[in-house]
């Protein structure tokens, strides 16, 4: 009984991998070709093609949604990476935050790595209503603080979300701005203020 089950499982595994092979070239060859297609330039080195466990899984589950169990694993691992500010303060200056949210500069091989990066939140989100040029990859964040409440818990969530988006929504299309060293702690606090300061145009 046990052996039949085992053999059936083995057959199934073999069948699935055989099927995968007729569909795609040997994984090594595909990866080789992809890596050979790039040259390092400026700050963009070839290691940018490497993936951590989250990105490996998220690549696989781009079209089909990721199973809940794997998603929970990614979120648990990523939440551990967030160093919440030691001073317990989450809100910086919303005016500085607005400038960072507008700027898409940074991390491209044509950018000078000595300059601070922007975050281009407006590329994907609606924030302050005055800015009509916003994208729709992410949801509207207009009135984020006003609707969620100006509580420390929500401020902490906003900080964590900007620092490492995968901690709260596995395989999100939102970059992990703190985790991947795009933004500094001060910059993230300024962005939290943009979302959470009652004086910010986002909450008007």
């Amino acid at each position: 009984m046990k052996t039949t089950y085992l053999m059936a499982t083995l057959a199934l595994v073999a069948a699935t991998s055989a099927q995968a092979q007729t569909k795609a070239p040997a994984p090594d060859r595909a990866t080789e070709v992809m890596k050979a297609a790039f040259k390092e330039r400026g700050q963009a080195k070839l290691d940018r093609l490497n993936q951590d466990k989250a990105m490996e899984l998220c690549t696989k589950y781009t079209v089909t949604p990721i199973p809940r169990k794997l998603a929970a694993e990614i979120e648990a691992e990523n939440v551990k990476t967030i160093p919440f500010p030691a001073d317990g303060k989450y809100l910086g200056d919303w005016k500085a935050g607005e400038r960072i949210a507008q700027s898409g500069v940074g991390m491209q091989f044509t950018d000078n790595p000595a300059n601070p990066s922007g975050a281009n939140c407006y590329a994907c989100h609606k924030l302050a209503p005055q800015e009509l040029s916003y994208g729709t990859i992410g949801s509207s964040l207009y009135q984020f603080g006003k609707l969620r409440g100006y509580s420390p818990d929500i401020a902490k969530y906003a900080y964590g979300k900007i620092y490492n988006s995968q901690a709260y929504a596995a395989c999100s299309n939102m970059p992990r701005f703190g985790h991947n060293k795009i933004l500094t702690e001060t910059q993230i606090k300024d962005l939290v203020a943009l979302l959470m300061d009652p004086e910010s145009p986002v909450n008007k």
Partner: protein, 302 residues
């Protein structure tokens, strides 16, 4: 040697450059910062234009369509096509040969309809090749250029025009009206498609982006730019059949290899190596997804 641009074209350029500056100016690095506009007239008009963001994407799209119609007979890409035709017929290189013996897949020297069937497998090189990599092959094998020489300067600027982009304009213009028909019958074509697909979905870089982040959903946009879902036939057809394109914001004609190069830059990846096997594979994936679409380029874009 350059034909003069028609007055309607200049007016159009000014208007579109103004739009381009507004959109790209606020879009930050998601869109490459526009270099000085193509014509001085366009540049000054653009600066003078009031910087009010467009009311809605629909309105913006309608504006662009209108300009496109207005310019139907005056795309500056004509200049690249004419220069490319000259280059095609000129005897060049150490072997003093023209491209008239260059086989783009339909026989020696045949350009008509050739682009609509590329990329494809070529027996003489035992590789799948797109137009650009095939032109490099012809420059090496027929004209006797060194491989590195043939690959140099794939993308032009105002000071340094690219012969490659001119040749691309000439050859692609000869497929205008043809139906995209990329074959996957050879094993290496199938393999290229699969590798290209893998590259399309590979998430990486500091932003965790893949092509799919921006091009695998319907009805999304970055800032005010609509993002085609390149995994679906209809939007893939519309996008692929509109490249190469004259970019008003750059004053240059850009090839499909350039389109990939620049999207990888925005994706924060390293530099895509011009005509590399992977770049051809990704092109195979996108071109095949566009099969059945009517090729309509060189086009004109902001």
């Amino acid at each position: 040697m350059y034909r003069t641009i028609k007055p309607t074209a200049v007016k159009w350029l000014a208007a579109v450059a103004a739009f381009g500056l507004i959109a790209a100016g606020t879009a930050g690095a998601q869109a490459p910062a526009p270099k000085a506009a193509a014509k001085p007239a366009a540049a000054s008009k653009a600066v003078a234009a009031p910087v009010t963001p467009a009311k809605s994407t629909d309105a913006t799209v309608r504006e662009i369509e209108k300009y496109r119609e207005a310019l139907a007979d005056g795309n500056p890409a004509d200049l690249w096509e004419a220069r490319g035709e000259d280059l095609w017929k000129q005897k060049r290189g150490p072997k003093n040969a023209s491209f008239e013996k260059c086989d783009l897949g339909l026989g020696e020297g045949v350009v008509k309809g050739a682009y609509a069937k590329l990329p494809r497998y070529f027996e003489d090189t035992d590789r799948v090749q797109d137009l650009e990599s095939r032109l490099v092959t012809c420059m090496v094998m027929l004209q006797g250029f060194k491989y590195d020489q043939a690959k140099r300067a794939p993308f032009g600027s105002a000071e340094n025009k690219s012969n490659m982009e001119a040749l691309v304009a000439y050859v692609t213009a000869n497929s205008r009206g043809a139906k995209m028909n990329v074959s996957l019958s050879h094993a290496k074509e199938k393999e290229a498609y699969a590798i290209g697909k893998k590259m399309f979905f590979h998430r990486g870089g500091p932003h965790d982006f893949s092509c799919a982040t921006c091009h695998a959903q319907d009805n999304i946009r970055i800032r005010l730019q609509d993002l085609p879902n390149l995994t679906k036939q209809e939007p893939a057809q519309r996008a692929y059949t509109s490249w190469p394109a004259y970019r008003v914001s750059q004053g240059e004609l850009r090839s499909f290899q350039w389109r990939l190069f620049d999207c990888f830059r925005q994706q924060r990846f390293p530099e895509l190596d011009f005509t590399s096997e992977g770049s051809v594979a990704l092109t195979t994936y996108l071109a095949r997804n566009a099969n059945g679409g009517i090729f309509n380029a060189p086009a004109i874009k902001r």
